[in-house]
C-alpha cells in the first residue's frame, strides 16, 4: 500500500481551515500512543494536559502569560516565512532583547529615574532583537551566507552572552553567589493588567502586533511585496522590489518583535536576568507560526493552543511524573503534522494498493 499526491486544480478553501485542525488531532493521537507506550494512561494525560488547565481560572491567566511571547515571536516570524526567508534564531534575538533592555533596568537600579525607564527598556529590547536579527540578514544580502545556519549559531552565542553577564559583571552582589541579577525596580517592571493578575502588558503588545500585521499584510504595498517575494521571487524582481531590502526588513521586524517578547518576559514576568529566561519560546514559535498558517489571527489562536502544551506539560510533570521533554517531543510531532497537512490543501491524496499505479 502506498499513497499518491495528485495536484488539485485549485486550492481547497475548506482544507485550508481544516488542515491545521486535522494536524492537531493527528499529533494528539500520536502523543497518546507515545504516552501509552510509556505505560501511562493517555486519557489521564489528556485530562491533565487539556481539560484541567482550561477549567481553572489561574491556569487561564497562565495560558495568556505563556501565549504572549509565543504570539509576539511567531507574528514576527510570519513576515520572514511569508517571504520564504528562514530566521530560526528568534530564541537568540529574544535573549539579546532581554539583555539590552535589562541593561537599562540594572543601570537605573536604585536611582530615582522616572517613568521614562520602562518605555526606554522596551525600545532597547526591540532594538537589540532587531540588530541581532539583522546580523544573519546582512550576511545573507551582502555576502550570500545561508541565513538558516548563521541565525541558529547566533542563538548559542546569545545564550552564552547572557550566561556570562549574569554570572559575571551583572551578578547581584548580595545574591549569595546565585547566577542572577538584582530584582528590577518597580519603575523597570512591566505592569500587570489589573490587581492580583499575572497577565502583563506584553499581552497587549501581542494583540497589537497581530492587528497591525493583519493591516500591513492585507492593506499595504509592503505586504503585497512580501507575499510576491515569497511566492514568485522572479516576478518580484521584475516588479522592481529589492529582495535585499525585503530580507533586511523582515529580519529587523521579526528580530524586533522577538526582542520585545524577551524584554516583556524579563520585566513583566521574571523580574530579573538569569541564565535561562525561556523554555524555548523562540523555537516553539516556529511551530506556532505554521500552525496558524502564517495568518495573524491564526497565529493568535495557535499561540494559545501551543501555550496549553507548556502548562499541561508542567502539571503533567507534577501530577503524572511525565517528563517535560514530552512537551518538546509533542511540539516536534505537531510541527511535522502541520507541515504534512499542507499537502491536503494543494493535493488530493489517494491510497493506492501495490501495483495499482495509473
Amino acid at each position: 500500500m502506498r499513497f499518491e499526491l495528485t495536484p488539485r486544480a485549485s486550492v481547497a478553501p475548506a482544507m485550508r481551515a481544516l488542515a491545521p485542525v486535522l494536524a492537531f488531532i493527528t499529533a494528539f493521537l500520536i502523543a497518546g500512543l507515545v504516552i501509552w507506550l510509556l505505560g501511562r494512561s493517555p486519557v489521564a494525560a489528556f485530562q491533565v494536559y487539556v481539560i484541567q488547565p482550561l477549567s481553572d481560572p489561574w491556569s487561564i491567566q497562565e495560558l495568556l502569560v505563556k501565549a504572549t511571547p509565543l504570539a509576539l515571536i511567531a507574528i514576527g516570524l510570519s513576515y520572514c516565512f511569508r517571504a520564504n526567508l528562514w530566521n530560526i534564531g528568534a530564541e537568540g534575538q529574544y535573549v539579546i532583547g532581554a539583555v539590552l533592555g535589562g541593561w537599562l533596568a540594572l543601570r537605573t537600579h536604585g536611582t530615582e529615574a522616572g517613568a521614562w525607564v520602562l518605555p526606554a527598556m522596551l525600545v532597547l529590547g526591540i532594538l537589540g532583537g532587531a540588530l541581532y536579527g539583522l546580523i544573519p540578514a546582512f550576511l545573507k544580502t551582502r555576502f550570500g551566507v545561508n541565513e538558516i545556519l548563521t541565525s541558529l549559531m547566533l542563538v548559542y552565542v546569545a545564550q552564552l552572552i547572557l550566561d556570562y553577564l549574569v554570572r559575571g559583571p551583572w551578578r547581584d552582589p548580595k545574591g549569595f553567589n546565585f547566577p542572577q541579577s538584582v530584582t528590577f525596580d518597580p519603575a523597570a517592571t512591566l505592569p500587570t493588567l489589573g490587581e492580583a493578575s499575572r497577565v502583563h502588558y506584553g499581552t497587549v503588545f501581542a494583540v497589537l502586533a497581530v492587528l497591525v500585521t493583519a493591516l500591513v499584510l492585507g492593506r499595504t504595498l509592503f505586504g503585497y511585496r512580501l507575499r510576491l517575494t515569497g511566492d514568485a521571487p522572479r516576478a518580484a524582481r521584475f516588479a522592481g522590489f529589492s529582495a535585499k531590502n525585503t530580507t533586511l526588513a523582515v529580519f529587523a521586524i521579526s528580530g524586533g518583535l522577538a526582542g520585545l517578547a524577551g524584554i516583556s518576559e524579563v520585566s513583566g514576568q521574571i523580574g530579573q536576568l538569569q541564565p535561562s529566561i525561556s523554555p524555548g519560546y523562540g523555537f516553539t514559535a516556529i511551530t506556532v507560526a505554521f500552525l496558524g498558517r502564517l495568518n495573524p489571527l491564526g497565529i493568535l489562536v495557535a499561540a494559545l493552543v501551543v501555550a496549553l502544551t507548556f502548562i499541561g506539560g508542567e502539571s503533567a510533570q507534577i501530577l503524572l511524573k511525565l517528563p517535560l521533554d514530552l512537551t518538546q517531543a509533542f511540539q516536534g510531532i505537531l510541527l511535522l503534522c502541520v507541515l504534512s497537512a499542507d499537502a491536503l490543501v494543494s493535493y488530493r491524496i489517494r491510497i493506492v494498493s501495490r501495483g495499482g499505479r495509473k
Binding site: 538558516i148 545556519l149 552564552l160 559575571g168 521533554d325 517531543a329 516536534g332 507541515l339 504534512s340 499542507d342
Partner: protein, 305 residues
C-alpha cells in the same frame, strides 16, 4: 605520551562525530533533500545507543541501536517530505525539536551511568610510525570507519553509476524523473543513510567521547555538521578537512578554558559557533554564492503519473 600528543589525540575524537554526521548529510543533500534534523537524529542516536549499551552491556549493540534510532527518525522525516511533499526546512527543524525531546525521555533513566572506554585497535606496523602512528592507527573502530566512510562516499558519488544517478536526481529532479530514474526511492535511501550516519555520530558521542549521557549533549554538533557540508562545497574530501579544523578549534578552546587565560569561559565556548559563521562567511567571500549546491536542494518533488 606528551601533552602535545594528547591534544592531537583528542582532536581526532572531537572531529570524528562531526565527520560521520556531515558525510551522511552530504549524501542526503546531494540527492536534493535538505535535512535540518541532523541535531535531532544525533541526539536520538546518542540516547538510544547509550541506553542499549548499558542495558545489554554491549558496545556493538549500542552502536546498532544508535544507527537504528537515527534511521527511525529519518523515516519520519522522509514520510513528511517525500510522502506529503512537506516543506523541508520546517520538517527538518521539527525533527530536531522532536529528537531533542524524545532523546530526553529515553535517556533520563540512564543519567549517572558510565561506560568503560572502548578499546583502541592498533594497526600493526603503521601504529609504530612516530606521532602519526599513535594518532591515526591506534584509535577505536569509529575513527577507522569515519575514514573508510569518507573514501567510500567519495568513490560512490564520483565513480559509481548509482552515485551518478543520485547526483543527477539532486541536480534536477524533473529531468531525472523524465529519464525514468526513481527520484523518491533514491531520496528515501539517501535520507536513511543520513539518518544512520547521524545516529552513528550520536553513538560515538555517548559511548566514546563522553562515555555518559546527559540531556542536550549534542550541543549543536548536528548544526555544525550541516555547516560543514556547505563549507565543503558538497565534496567529501573537504568535509574531512573541515571536520578536523572544527575538531581542532573545539579542543583548543577547551584547553584554553582549562589554562584560564583570564578570558571568560563563555567566550571560548562560543568559539565553535562563531567559527562556523566565520567559515561560512569566508567561503562566500571567496566564491560569491554558495558553490556546489545541488540544483534541486530543498525543493519538494511530486511525480506526475
Amino acid at each position: 605520551m606528551t601533552t602535545f600528543e594528547a591534544i592531537l589525540l583528542t582532536i581526532v575524537t572531537a572531529s570524528t562525530p562531526l565527520l560521520i554526521a556531515a558525510l551522511g548529510e552530504l549524501v542526503t543533500e546531494r540527492s536534493g533533500v535538505l535535512n535540518l534534523g541532523v541535531e535531532g537524529m544525533m541526539a536520538m542516536g546518542a540516547a538510544c545507543s547509550f541506553a542499549a549499551a548499558v542495558t545489554f552491556d554491549s558496545t556493538i549493540l549500542g552502536v546498532g541501536a544508535g544507527m537504528l534510532a537515527g534511521m527511525a527518525m529519518a523515516v519520519i522525516f522522509a514520510l513528511a517530505v517525500l510522502g506529503f511533499a512537506a516543506n523541508q526546512v520546517g520538517s527538518g527543524l521539527a525533527l530536531t525539536i522532536l529528537g531533542l525531546g524524545l532523546s530526553g525521555l529515553i535517556g533520563a533513566p540512564f543519567v549517572g551511568a558510565r561506560r568503560n572506554p572502548v578499546e583502541p585497535l592498533s594497526v600493526p606496523v603503521l601504529s609504530d610510525i612516530p606521532i602519526v602512528g599513535r594518532l591515526f592507527f591506534e584509535q577505536d573502530l569509529f575513527v577507522y570507519v569515519s575514514f573508510l566512510l569518507t573514501v567510500g562516499v567519495a568513490l560512490y558519488l564520483g565513480r559509481s553509476r548509482a552515485g551518478l544517478t543520485l547526483r543527477s536526481i539532486g541536480e534536477n529532479h524533473v529531468s531525472a524523473h523524465g529519464l525514468g530514474l526513481p527520484v523518491l526511492r533514491v531520496r528515501l535511501l539517501a535520507i536513511l543513510f543520513g539518518g544512520a550516519c547521524a545516529g552513528l555520530a550520536g553513538a560515538y558521542l555517548s559511548l566514546v567521547y563522553t562515555r555518559f549521557w546527559s540531556p542536550g549533549m549534542t550541543a549543536g554538533r548536528g548544526w555544525i555538521a550541516l555547516a560543514l557540508v556547505v563549507f565543503a562545497a558538497w565534496r567529501p574530501g573537504w568535509v574531512l578537512v573541515g571536520a578536523y579544523i572544527f575538531g581542532a578549534a573545539t579542543v583548543l578552546q577547551l584547553h584554553a578554558q582549562a589554562a584560564q587565560f583570564g578570558v571568560p569561559s563563555q567566550l571560548l565556548s562560543a568559539v565553535p559557533y562563531l567559527a562556523t559563521i566565520l567559515a561560512l562567511l569566508l567561503l562566500s567571500l571567496r566564491h560569491g554564492r554558495a558553490i556546489g549546491a545541488p540544483g534541486s536542494l530543498g525543493a519538494p518533488f511530486v511525480p506526475d503519473r
